[in-house]
Amino acid sequence: MRDNTLKYVLVLPAVLVVFATAIWPLMESARLSATVGRLNRPGSLDQYIGLENYTWAFFEEPSFWNSVWVTGVYTLLTVGLTTLLALGLALLLAPGGRLRSGVQTLLILPFAMSPALIGVSFRFMFNPEFGLFDAFFGVVMPPLADVSWLADPTLAFAVCVMADVWGWIPFLTLVLIGGLASIPQDTIEAAQVDGASGWRVFRDITLPQLGPVLAVVIILKSIFSLKTFDQIFMLTNGGPGTATQTLSHYIYFNGMKYGQIGYAASVAWLMVIPMILLTYLYAKYVFRKN
């Protein structure tokens, strides 16, 4: 066999796997989004209705817009908070930073936990009867002890954000520590001697040089926040009501629980739009030419 042919043969298995697990389901979901697609109605998976599912989501379903809103706020808050806190920690933990050593190892622990597990543990911690927070506030601030954290829409949302930020900080911190370590130390020292205060060194020298890494971190985290599912599912299951129902959760509910697979597929495709945009930006930063 010629080398030229051989190389295609060698790649073929991988291409087939990708096709079967990614491309085909993607195309199938696109097809389903144009059908009535009720799991409990035989034949409806081939009953085409054009873009009706999409217009339904846009114009007839306030719960869709609720999920868009929840997902948007959730993404903004988790990305913002995680990035800021991770940056602060990275500055403290980076070579030449003020902490370091053993703390770094300790910090990675939350990242070793699966999101679903984080969801369950936070649910237990915020349990109003036997939760950790109940016990803690019972001693420190009794009025807060009996608050049903997960029953209040705003508080439940805040708990979701908190759990996510807690789980993601380690990874982003590690990435940012790497970014900080790659900044030449002498540019920072040069700025110090040139007369810059600590804050100005950070703003004028450190931050601009960290820029590309920071952009990658923000984009990556945005993607992960947008598609958050497991944690929410375990922690609040979208509730109370639909106060914490993100789009992924909304899609799951409509598709799996209500059997409206066609409608769920169309919402999933609506989510693809911001995802493609973010993926494009990500690729641009990661593979950018120097």
């Binding site: 540019t187 001697v193 007369g195 810059a196 004028d204």
Partner: protein, 352 residues
Amino acid sequence: MAEVILKNLSKRWGDFVGVDNQSLDIHDKEFLVLLGPSGCGKTTTMRMIAGLEEPTSGEIWIGERQVNDDLPKDRDVAMVFQNYGLYPHMTIFDNIAYPLKVRGTPKAEIRPRVERAAAQVELTQFLDRKPKALSGGQRQRVALARAIVRTPKVFLMDEPLSNLDAKLRVTMRAELKHLSRELKVTTVYVTHDQIEAMTLADRVAVMKHGIIQQLGTPDEIYNDPANLFVAGFIGSPAMNLVRGRIEGGQFLTEDGVKLSPIASEDRSEVVLGVRADDINVHEAGEGDIDAPIYAFENTGEASFLTVEWGDQRVIARGDRHLRKDQDDVVGLSLNPDHLYLFDPNTEKRIRL
């Protein structure tokens, strides 16, 4: 403009001693070179003056002020780094302007001052570029321009030429010397290159193991070395150091080769120092001693003969027209006015 005074300055990291209780007065407008091999504490000393390293003990004075507790930004020094330390995301103009900007210089004043500094280092046409678009020599000039754009009390230069290729280094060295004579600002310059030290310095401090071995003008360091280390470190080729003894006013090498009359009492253990320049080369039989040639090297501007005295080899410098071959025998005589004796145990100079 200011003098820099170091009083009993030490820097230790655990058991490791970087700088060991050193005192040094650097005069106003002086160009002082800290010279020594890597790890001798010269860069640490400079970084302590800059405020980038905190002394373990001792005092640092710049002008009338003790600066130990001052941040680098408050010490009014300018520094040129070995790797230039340019800000990669800023244009050359912004790089040079940065010290002015952070010190709140009025905007209208910044442009003319940056342009003047750039002109002094011949960079005017590159002001809009980023550092990565410049060659090593040009980056070095940017670092220099960033230092001279203000008039700091002290210039600190940390091996500024060591990343340049050999030819460029010679050119930049001359430019640096010219510039420093024009600016007349107290300068501390760190290098491991003794030629740079000799050519640039008003005074040189030769360091080893965190201790200043000798402080003096280039002439003093070259012609009057205080110990074996300084003698062996300064000069190219390095000073010949021959182990031997003195008997009846004669220096004999370890294996008993009679070398040269010398005005000293008898000593059983001594090291004789003589520079290649101070060994005269003659035809065989015409010098004080005949020796076989181990290697003959012609550099164009001179010829260097490595000869064997017993087991020890020494280098003599001959006329540039001299042509000899390996294993030829030549006559050698030592210039009696430029012989140095050292105690091999204390490594100190024995004054004659």
